[in-house]
């Protein structure tokens, strides 16, 4: 279950359209349309199955079930679920890609000093 429980983070519903820069210090679930930039630093971003994000994303972890057009920079991990459609470069320590996910772009695994990068699965 990727949708946050009540009180566990911000939720952008599927009828919401946002243009601009989003930043925050809590987890974010996007099931609507976001265009611009998303910066969550130490928190996670989940793009829901109805989500359509056209933005460069920076977060601790990123889970994508919907559509994302832009670069993804995750300090911890990226999960591309089977319905994910991603166009852009991904930079992270670990990446998991489900069968059926679509990625068009570069994957650059940045290994943290002293740690091995986790595998794509």
């Amino acid at each position: 279950m990727d949708a946050p429980q009540t009180g566990e983070g911000a939720h952008i519903g599927k009828s919401v359209v946002i243009k601009g820069e989003l930043s925050g210090s809590e987890d974010l679930y996007v099931d609507g349309n976001v265009e611009g930039k998303i910066e969550l630093r130490n928190h996670s971003l989940t793009v829901g199955p109805n989500g359509n994000v056209k933005a460069d994303v920076s977060a601790k972890s990123v889970v994508i079930q919907g559509k994302l057009d832009g670069s993804v920079n995750a300090s911890d991990r990226v999960d591309l679920r089977k319905s994910a459609v991603v166009t852009g470069d991904v930079t992270t320590q670990r990446i998991a890609i489900e069968e059926g996910a679509f990625l068009r772009g570069k994957v650059d695994i940045q290994k943290e000093a002293g740690k091995a990068a986790g595998p794509a699965s």
Partner: protein, 222 residues
């Protein structure tokens, strides 16, 4: 060169997608390069594959994915020529795909792309690959032999070992068809060796590996 234009009856595909494996001499040679050098740029032109991304990034290389066959089937690329025939807009295709800096890639994995891609896109694609590859870079591609029929299954390839590829049937919705109407792309033609050599004539060298499964592996050095 043998072209396949007419349709033919197909047998029903199995309900569960089958995954077969094959030994790949070409992949073995590329693996030796990947194991001996660091920070290489690898361009995978097949369907997004977690296995491939893991294989390359675990070795410290950068993996670029671009599913060129899928992109070539975009209905928006279909235009009518002056005679009213439906053709693929190769100019737009090349403007929207393989857009990279010159001499960027050390390794390009073409897989079986030239055999299944629309005829008008093959030469421009190979020319573009020449431009975006580094001198000395490796390109691996597979060509069917004359023993293959037009209904030869189109596979995607997952690298599961140094010279082992897992093969999985590819299915796409043809242009203009609903997304649910997925079919295996048809083999467009069979290149003979002379056509293959002409296709890659600007490259420095070309090496053929023959296999038992009606496939010729071709390893080309830029």
């Amino acid at each position: 060169m043998k072209f396949f234009r007419s349709s033919s009856n197909r047998t029903a595909a199995p309900a569960v997608p089958q995954k077969l494996t094959r030994r790949s001499s070409g992949m073995g040679e590329i693996s030796r390069l990947l194991n001996s050098e660091e920070g290489l740029c690898v361009l995978d032109l097949g369907s997004t594959s977690a296995s491939n991304i893991r294989f390359f990034t675990d070795k410290g290389h950068k993996n670029y994915s671009e599913d060129l066959l899928h992109s070539s089937l975009d209905a928006a690329l279909r235009i009518q020529d002056v005679a009213g025939n439906w053709v693929v807009d190769s100019k737009t295709f090349m403007e929207e795909n393989l857009v990279y800096e010159n001499a960027q890639f050390d390794v390009v994995l073409c897989w079986n792309l030239p055999d299944y891609m629309e005829e008008s896109l093959v030469k421009p694609t190979i020319d573009r690959l020449w431009s975006i590859m580094k001198p000395g870079g490796y390109l691996l591609t597979f060509f069917h032999t004359r023993d293959a029929g037009p209904d030869s299954i189109c596979y995607r390839y997952h690298v599961t070992g140094t010279d082992v590829l897992e093969m999985q049937e590819v299915k796409f919705a043809p242009p203009g068809r609903p997304a649910s109407d997925k079919r295996s792309p048809r083999l467009q033609r069979v290149f003979n060796n002379r056509h293959i050599e002409n296709l890659f004539r600007d490259f420095a060298s070309i090496k053929f590996f023959l296999a038992r499964d009606a496939i010729r592996e071709v390893l080309v050095v830029r």
